[in-house]
Subunit: 436 residues, 2 copies
């Protein structure tokens, strides 16, 4: 069946609405579809995902053609190399996208799990059931792979999804989303369960994030600029996958060999990601023993260093620039590290809570008491004891996959996996039960 | 120790901040206190609650004196009787407030529970631990009992609380919050963990709900006006305990005796509460058998009735007014019911999802298939099968107590108990573990 016939096959009022192409009509159609998807069986959802993976492989050429058109668009020419790299697909990347979809099939379906069950008053049986959230909107940058990653996770968790990608990736996203629609249809699921907005302008995004009662959740995947833009306009709940200003604190009495291995791993193994360390804190009683060797090793590894006066005094012959307040707040996303000496465990905890982003923070210590105090009092999604911050990841944590990493405290904290894309409802059954 | 000495005893930078009395200073002090409270033992928190219950009983006279001053304030004279009733305390109500605190002591401490534990890569041990949210702000109307109810639930769940009551209850709230501070101090817990704002003006509330990164959650307890006011200004996450426009649907083939008992209970047992039914839907195949008797019984019970044309055609001799679209949306909070005949189960589900508030909705049916479809497709926090909507309540559900009832889908849905006042964090322990 061609994609044109496919579109026509949606039929009825929903198509008419979607065809009108307004954001509110597209979201309303997604809402209707979400109610069908919420009741779909695991088998049916997995069948759609299997077809999706297959179609992605079969249509690799078409996908790459559309991507080539995005890449050679005059607007794309001016993009920074890092952004162009994210926009670009190739045969290996397309294969990886299909493999990602198959990995989602392998995950357990979170929907329908009975979280609690008990009998309450009047013989009423209470069940707390995990259910999909409904309609999830994902706002993201020019990364076509995100289109499929997010669609697959939402489909598996029974949610309809409205994708708002970047206009730079418009052609790639169009082909990919059409393939998702085709897979849904082939599996007997409603095509409106996935929709792609044009990514045309800010007004479109503002309309999307104010669809109260229709869109149930907005997940932005992007930088601080996108976050601030959403904060101003969104009335629909948003889970911000915010930046990671992560810390490693070396306590008095820590094993300094382990401390060095951890900060080197946390800073240099993959410096561009959100769980990489940005600030090293060292107890003043450990500074003289630890810092000269650690700074030399970090410098050797290509890390640019800035530090407070106490750090700089111990640095020679390594060059350490002067750190200011702004450095404490900065996520470098690069081979650069801020270093500071602190007077105590309390000072370290206070520093992390003041300047950190609540993402991932580590203590290296030999003291179980210090470890537990750090774990309890550092107000972050992930707290590490004698381990690198680099482990924060939905796949590594055993959640299977992630749609982002939340530094908020409500609903989802840390990796947002399938379970976090669900809510729950209470289902109560009686035999004519009334309250006395 | 007098309350003046008590205040002076707080000491240090926090007092200076709180003494400045600005909303931001009070919230910042609550944040510092919240970190201590998060690590407090169950025993210490329960000791504070036991002292609180005792002090409330000992100071009953003082509490009633302050309440009398609120009641006889010239501003209070003009209040509606229902509002005056909510503002008024008496000896029995003070005793009930103390008993409520003791009931919270009896609940299990949710903090520290290990929700998941597993070993991930490199031998790292992962624990997902339940932890307090941090600083919770509660915005409420002129009900002094809420001051203690909410303070007790937040204290038990390890959260600091900033109370923003009504200026009508200012004197009552002041005495009650001072008693909480005294109990905290006597148990060795930080006094800044509970704070009361004056309730003076809207600017104060706007400042409170924009304390990003300091206040972690706002819970409004009030009507739609309060909700809309917050929607406009809040940047801190809010859990709205919204209205309950609840439905009872009588399916084709339902046991009509049970159906009648359920609608009578749902509408008349306590019509002023949010889990009372506001609309009765009846399958057209059951209408002729059910409605004449049901309408007569409801009318007999003092219920004012409005209905669609199909209902009105079956009503004689009972008087049934004409229902319009607005009735479908209205939470009467009174002995008034809207009645409509629907063509099918699908039409009933669509009606509930269109007009309902996602609170509590019931089906009366003999069909397990209809029951499961209604439970799955009605997008409400609580869905009832052959039972009255009136059971929705944190205490009845076995959560122990509730701070409100959420009709949102994120974080908390349905009754907000101690568990819902918590978030979680991942604590990961290694022995120098790094990511490969």
């Amino acid at each position: 069946m061609s994609r044109t016939t496919e579109s026509a096959a949606r039929g009825g009022a929903i198509t008419d609405a979607a065809a009108s192409n307004s954001v509110s009509a597209i979201c309303a159609a997604a809402k209707v579809a979400s109610r069908v998807l919420a009741s779909a069986s695991s088998e049916q959802k997995d069948r759609a995902l299997a077809i999706l993976a297959e179609l992605i492989e079969q249509r690799a050429e078409q996908i790459l053609g559309a991507n080539q058109a995005d890449l050679s668009d005059p607007r794309a020419i001016g993009l920074e190399p890092a952004l162009l790299d994210r926009l670009e697909l190739n045969a290996a990347r397309v294969a990886a996208i299909a493999a990602g979809v198959r990995a989602v099939i392998a995950l357990a379906d979170p929907v329908g799990e009975v979280l609690e069950a008990r009998t309450i008053e009047a013989g009423v049986e209470l069940e707390m059931r995990r259910v999909p959230i409904g309609v999830v909107a994902v706002v993201y940058e020019a990364r076509p792979n995100v289109t499929i990653d997010c669609a697959a996770l939402c489909l598996k968790s029974g949610n309809a999804i409205v994708l708002r990608g970047s206009s730079y990736a418009a052609r790639s996203n169009r082909v990919l989303s059409e393939i998702v629609v085709e897979a849904l249809h082939a599996a007997g699921l409603p095509a409106d369960a996935v929709a792609l907005l044009d990514g045309a302008d800010r007004a479109e995004m503002a309309e999307l994030v104010t669809q109260d009662g229709v869109v149930d959740l907005v997940i932005p995947r992007g930088g601080e600029g996108l976050k601030n833009a959403l904060k101003e306009v969104a009335t629909v709940p948003v889970i911000y996958a915010a930046s990671g200003n992560c810390h490693v604190y070396v306590d008095l009495g820590a094993d300094l060999g382990k401390a060095l291995a951890i900060i080197l791993n946390a800073k240099t193994q993959r410096p561009g990601v959100c769980n990489a360390a940005e600030t090293l804190l060292v107890h003043r009683g450990a500074a003289a023993d630890f810092l000269p060797e650690a700074l030399a090793a970090l410098s050797e590894a290509g890390v640019e260093l800035v530090g407070d006066e106490a750090t700089r005094a111990l640095a020679a012959p390594v060059a350490v620039g002067r750190a200011d307040e702004e450095d404490y707040r900065t996520e470098y996303h690069a081979l650069k590290l801020c270093v500071a000496v602190v007077a105590s465990l309390d000072a370290a905890i206070a520093h992390v809570n003041r300047y950190g982003s609540g993402h991932s923070d580590a203590i290296v210590t030999g003291s179980p008491t210090s470890a537990q105090r750090f774990a309890a009092e550092v107000d972050s999604a992930c707290v590490y004891i004698n381990a690198s911050t680099r482990f924060t990841d939905g796949f590594v944590f055993g959640l299977g996959a992630e749609i982002g990493n939340s530094t908020q405290k409500l609903h989802a904290r840390g990796p947002i996996g399938l379970r976090e894309l669900c809510t729950y409802k209470y289902v109560l059954s009686g035999d004519g039960a009334v309250r006395g």
